[in-house]
Subunit: 216 residues, 2 copies
């Protein structure tokens, strides 16, 4: 490992902004995109459950179809990449079993070594209503979004997180429901257009002292 | 700006893990911590509303008091820093007004220049039930968590995200309710203990092909 300096981190985070207009002629190089996908996979989650799937929509006709269900925001068609962040629906004891059996294999543990862990997860899920499980798991998807946006900024890739879309339409057009997932948020990634006026707007954040409180 | 390479990004993300045991003798240097706080402030959010506050609990006695309400997880007292990620409760038209009047000032715009934007936000909030506004805003807090964990990893700071705590107890002991906030997730940050066995465990992620699907 080789750390980034605080100055470099902040320079990259200050460089990023929610891109309004992407340059449709520019594509994220494969090696960079592969790292961004890997970053998504490396996102931490509650219990390590990874209750998500990231759909990368490459089909241009499909992206065009999504446009009217995205408040007409052109980033959907112009950006190099479009990722739909989806939560796994109906997370249950089977997911706890899937995780512990996979962990047992990856870590080369004896069978049953993670039974206590599995039991704890199953108990947690059993005590939680389906609606609250969805709330809980959907929040994990937003950890992935935060990780992704910061990873993009670090690599010098522009992005725009988008909650302005019709999830039910996305789920239908991308066949997510049938696959057991539900769209929660979207991110477009690529490169800012030279004419994107938002690029030069001053970043608006409330004063530090209103956002951070030290309890001493 | 100066980009990080894909290799460096992935090296840092692979280096991170959910720390089980922190070295209580090590403190994050001020310059590093300041950058992490600034990273939190720079987190993007829906409409730019920043519906959150990050409480950094420095009082050791208070951290000890939180321990039994954190499933007894020692990271709460051993880590260099403890951050409670809280959502603003009762987000309403007043928050849209607060954002647009602050933006108008920061960007030196004429009065009323952001009235259309404000109207759109107020309309969105008016169409959403209080419970759904909480769901929506709470998700933003998890973008901040994702950003924070990645920022820590980049700076070589260890961290542990924690959902295993009793929010109502945190809200009471930290007086968050009275301040108009509600705790949603916790992160501890510092440096791994030499004896933390979790540091050497193989990272468990489901296969890339099960987490990412390209729709072509």
């Amino acid at each position: 490992m080789s750390n980034v300096s605080p100055e470099q981190l902040l320079a990259q985070l200050n460089w990023r902004y929610a891109v309004k207009k992407f340059d449709p002629s520019r594509t994220i190089p494969d090696s960079t995109w592969t790292a961004l996908e890997e970053s998504l996979v490396l996102t931490p989650s509650s219990y390590g459950l990874q209750p998500w799937k990231f759909f990368v929509v490459e089909n241009p006709a499909l992206r065009k179809e999504l446009l009217p269900h995205s408040w007409g925001q052109e980033q959907i068609v112009d950006a190099s990449h479009l990722v739909v962040f989806a939560v796994k629906t109906n997370v249950s004891a089977a997911d706890a079993e899937r995780l512990t059996s996979w962990s047992t294999k990856v870590r080369e543990l004896p069978d049953g070594a993670l039974d206590g862990y599995k039991k704890m997860m199953v108990g947690s899920l059993a005590r939680t209503s389906p609606a609250d499980i969805d709330v809980w798991m959907s929040r994990q998807v937003f950890i992935a979004l935060g990780n992704f946006l910061t990873a993009c900024a670090l690599l010098g890739v522009d992005a725009c997180p988008m909650e302005g879309f019709v999830p039910a339409k996305y789920d239908e057009l991308l066949e997510l429901t049938a696959k057991g997932y539900a769209s929660r948020v979207v991110a477009t990634a690529g490169y800012r257009h030279a004419e994107d006026k938002n690029a030069t707007l001053k970043k608006v954040r409330f004063p530090h002292a209103e956002m951070i409180e030290r309890i001493v």
